[in-house]
């Protein structure tokens, strides 16, 4: 793959102000052609602003955005390509299906704008409606559609012109849980099939994990981490990412010693008196650094007896039955652990137990 395909979309030092707030604070990233990237973060982190900047729905205050060899917008070069010239398909949060048109008219619109021949429009619209599974609904008015069908219509409209980029602005947030889970898989399938480079904005971490090739975690207008889903989950770089993606036990600590490369001991006595643990360290961590130890609830194992006396003693505060697992709160010292156990363990409130941490899954991250 040549470098142009590797850096298909390039966002370079993007800055966007809203009044006196820096909504986007000089972020840079690029995407490989055909891949699916998710911008993930809480509301106000700048993810939607970044998306709107790429779409051209507002001007930017500094930086540059380009796709292939076309500069979409550049503050320095004083270039601004209006949205309609950018050849982008976009799926909006509200779907934005035009209520005065049928499904077919909605989907045909981008092709009509591009002045394609009527026969070709017809052919392509039918093809794409089939792809999203809406062939039956073609003549229905947008107002007669269910949420999921509107969603599919919006997707069909966005991909029908085979645009250079596909943008999603929290497209699933208006659907109910069941439908949302179903649409995640569906969206990913269709994107795979058409192979259009996609950027997806969401605050829902499980959506991001399921669909993306890569995830960019954002906060306060900056990029915190960029990695494939598994790495973002299992190797968060800092406290923010580990508590935003999934659930984590976070304990303040100080690096005691560095053992072999990437491993070491961390003193966590501020949380649990007299305790230190073995964990994975990142390369730049040195002895004496302030760190946060992050352990996923499913990576804490629980035993009733303390045979090798390495366990951390605790007391079950609450055991909430969730069906496939039991969500336990276990206190040891002043710290309350979140632990997921198998229902077979049969933990009950008030039980005395011992917790064991696996050094391979115990991570020291920057605060």
């Amino acid at each position: 793959m040549n470098t142009e395909d590797k850096n298909y979309l390039v966002v370079d030092q993007l800055v966007k102000w809203f009044g006196s707030d820096r909504a986007v604070n000089g972020i840079s990233f690029s995407i490989e052609k055909g891949s699916f990237l998710t911008l993930l973060g809480p509301s106000g982190c700048g993810k939607t602003t970044t998306l709107m900047s790429i779409a051209g729905l507002h001007a930017i205050d500094a930086g540059e955005i380009r796709v292939g060899d076309t500069i979409y917008t550049s503050r320095e070069k004083k270039i601004f390509l209006p949205p309609e010239k950018r050849d982008i398909g976009m799926v909006f949060q509200s779907y934005a299906i035009w209520p005065h048109m049928t499904v077919k008219q909605n989907v045909a619109y981008p092709l009509e704008i591009r002045k394609l021949h009527a026969d070709e429009i017809d052919e392509r619209v039918n093809k794409v409606l089939e792809l999203v599974g809406l062939s039956e609904m073609a003549e229905k008015l947008a107002t007669q559609l269910s949420g999921g069908q509107q969603q599919r219509t919006a997707l069909a409209r966005a991909i029908v012109s085979n645009p250079r980029l596909l943008l999603f602005d929290e497209p699933l947030s208006n659907l109910d849980l069941k439908l949302r889970e179903q649409m995640r898989v569906e969206l990913k399938r269709i994107q795979n099939e058409v192979g259009i480079t996609s950027i997806y904005v969401t605050h829902d971490q499980s959506e991001a994990l399921v669909m993306s090739d890569e995830i960019i975690v954002m906060s306060k207008g900056r990029i915190e981490q960029r990695d494939p889903p598994l790495a973002v989950y299992s190797k968060p770089v800092n406290e923010y990412v580990s508590q935003f993606i999934g659930v984590a036990n976070l304990l303040k600590g100080k690096v005691l010693s560095e053992a072999e490369s990437g491993k070491g001991k961390v003193d966590i006595s501020t949380s649990i008196t007299g305790l230190s643990c073995d964990c994975l360290l990142s390369s730049e961590m040195k002895k004496g650094d302030e760190v946060v130890v992050s352990v996923r609830p499913e990576n804490v194992s629980v035993s009733r007896d303390n045979t090798d006396s390495s366990g951390i003693e605790g007391k079950v505060n609450a055991a909430i039955f969730m069906g496939n697992c039991v969500d336990c709160r276990i206190t040891s010292g002043s710290y309350e652990w979140k632990v997921l156990t198998h229902p077979r363990e049969n933990l009950n409130e008030g039980d005395r137990v011992f917790l064991h941490l696996d050094p391979e899954h115990t991570l020291a991250v920057t605060p």
């Binding site: 270039i79 409209r157 012109s161």
Partner: protein
């Protein structure tokens, strides 16, 4: 399905400002700014110009303002205006709130059917209402007084509307729908659980009404009351017909005599307009800044089913009250106009053998020798003005709404304010501004100056109609069209305008109705040959007889009623409350 798009030339910054969007919006913005601001500035400036005794030269000075309290007539006129506005406010608020409550919150029979009739006076001309009520209840020739004398063999009269009370009565009846429309939304959209939860805490019905319902509706009532106060202060037709001839001058009738007639003094007229304008601006400002934001109940967009109060036997009293309003505000005046219009001359006596349609022939058939030009020209001119005015105003309204609610730049805030100014200003004040601004230009004494006055004063009404729908439809609908590759103009043509169509049409009909009955701007700006229907009615009332006046009034009323019918069919219930 691969379709390569040729690389597009990047657009340089300086050209970025020459997009379709900016060109159109800048031009329209400038037009609106000039149309609204210029007359107001000229008005302010003119108010400080003093005409010398010969009536030729002017010099700067405050003499006009001193006259406001030293003149023989003006101080009294200001006082009378205050009395009329206060009285009208009280009457219209009482009627409007009562009717809204009856229709929205009680089990009054057939309330849904009565509502459209409650709103009819909103669309009719108060001036014509005054003419009708003059024929019904002036001491000598009033039909009701005649019947009173005939039936009871009594002397004198039962009712007299030829005074300030008459003005308050008629204006109050006609402005009741204003209060009604302000209040009905709050009453209908009120979350019933607010009242239910008060009841569950042990508060009784009366206590709940007084401590929960009423406070929640109070901002809406106050808003309606202020609007009525301001509107009736600027009302010209009713005091002109019922008060001025009997020695009760008001600010508007005084402005009128200074704008036209033998002792015309535009500068003094401008000064009096300033008084009216300043009162209006202050009150509207109070309404918008202090009262409107306190409106609690309009926040949620949810549709609620409000609690309905079972009135028991009293529901028939409520029903009777509602019917009575419709009877005195709509049925009786129209009936009277019709009866009077059939007689050659109105002698306060119904003479079936004398009845004919002759008066309609004289006021409608412009090709006939004996037609009255002021009436026939007036009808034609009014239709020209209403049609072109409504069309131009809606185009302006569309672009202006777009700028305010979509473009959202610096200009949009300025425009938003510019759109509020004309709504606040009484027509007669704005007309004085337009008159002093354009009197030296070629458009004076043409239909153009009337068109300019109409559009400037009333296009914000259309703008609001569009804006309310524009706010309800997501901006993403526009954006997704741009993302589909459509230019700004194509998006406007294929997405925005089709979606706004109901609002555009409702606004158009509303303006058409307003323009067809418009009096206070027309009366200042018309000249021979550019009369409108209402000016025609004024002319007939002054220079012909009551019967001819009633015929033309009746014609206007029928046309307006047809428009209301169309408006309701097309726009539905919702459009009005917007």
């Amino acid at each position: 399905m691969a379709q390569a798009i040729a690389p597009v030339e990047p657009v340089q910054t300086w050209r970025r400002f020459l997009t379709q969007e900016t060109i159109v919006t800048v031009i329209v913005g400038l037009i609106v700014a000039v149309a609204v601001i210029l007359p107001l500035i000229t008005l302010v400036v003119s108010s400080f110009l003093v005409l010398d005794d010969l009536g030729f030269d002017t010099e700067w000075g405050l003499e006009n303002y001193i006259l406001l309290y030293t003149d023989r007539v003006i101080p009294k006129a200001i006082f009378n205006t205050f009395i009329i506005s206060s009285g009208t406010m009280i009457l219209a608020t009482f009627l409007g709130v009562s009717l809204a409550w009856i229709n929205a919150r009680t089990n009054c029979p057939w309330a849904d059917y009565l509502e459209p009739y409650n709103l009819i006076p909103f669309f009719l001309s108060p001036f014509v209402g005054a003419i009708a009520w003059h024929n019904l209840a002036s001491p000598r020739i009033g039909l009701l007084n005649v019947w009173y004398r005939d039936f009871f063999g009594a002397e004198g009269y039962l009712l007299n509307v030829d005074n300030l009370w008459g003005v308050i009565w008629v204006t109050g009846l006609f402005f009741t729908p204003l209060v009604y429309l302000f209040v009905i939304g709050s009453l209908r959209r009120m979350d019933p659980s607010l009242e239910d939860s008060a009841r569950t805490t042990g508060a009784g019905l009366l206590r709940t009404t007084l401590t929960i319902t009423l406070p929640l509706v109070t901002p809406a009532i106050l808003s309606g009351a202020i609007i009525v106060f301001v509107t009736s202060a600027g009302e010209f037709g009713v005091p002109f017909k019922l008060a001025a001839p009997y020695g009760w001058e008001t600010l508007t009738t005084q402005i009128f005599t200074k704008a036209v007639g033998d002792d015309a003094n535009h500068y003094l007229g401008a000064t009096m307009s300033m008084v009216l304008g300043v009162i209006t601006v202050i009150l509207i400002w109070v309404q918008r800044v202090y009262i409107a934001p306190r409106s609690y109940t309009t926040v949620t967009g949810k549709g609620f089913r409000p609690n309905v109060l079972d009135l028991g036997k009293w529901k028939w009293v409520a029903f009777g009250f509602n019917l009575s309003y419709i009877f005195v505000a709509v049925v009786l005046p129209i009936f009277c106009l019709f009866i009077v219009s059939l007689h050659p001359v109105w002698t306060a006596e119904i003479i079936p053998s004398d009845m004919s349609m002759n008066n309609y022939v004289k006021t409608l058939f412009w090709w006939r020798e004996d037609s009255i030009r002021a009436a026939t020209d007036g009808i034609i001119n009014s239709f020209i003005l209403a049609f072109s005015g409504a069309s131009i105003a809606m185009v302006l309204a569309l672009v202006v709404s777009y700028m305010i609610h979509r473009t959202k730049g610096f200009g949009s805030k300025v425009l938003d304010i510019l759109c509020v100014i004309p709504i606040g200003f009484p027509g007669i004040v704005l007309a004085m501004g337009v008159l002093v601004t354009y009197i030296q230009t070629p458009i004076y004494a043409t239909l153009w100056i009337l068109l300019l006055g109409y559009i400037t004063r009333f296009f914000p009404y259309g703008q609001r109609n569009i804006a309310s729908i524009m706010l309800a439809i997501s901006e993403e609908l526009d954006q997704s069209s741009r993302m589909s590759g459509a230019t700004w103009f194509t998006t406007l043509r294929r997405i925005t305008i089709p979606l706004l169509k109901p609002g555009i049409f409702a606004g158009w009909v509303l303006l058409f109705v307003i323009f067809l009955r418009e009096l206070s701007i027309s009366i200042i700006l018309y000249s021979t040959g550019t009369e409108t229907i209402s000016v025609g009615v004024y002319y007939l009332a002054n220079f012909e007889n009551e019967a001819l006046t009633s015929a033309l009034s009746m014609t206007q009323t029928v046309v307006l009623l047809i428009c209301i019918y169309i408006f309701r069919r097309v726009a539905g219930k919702e459009a009005l409350s917007a």
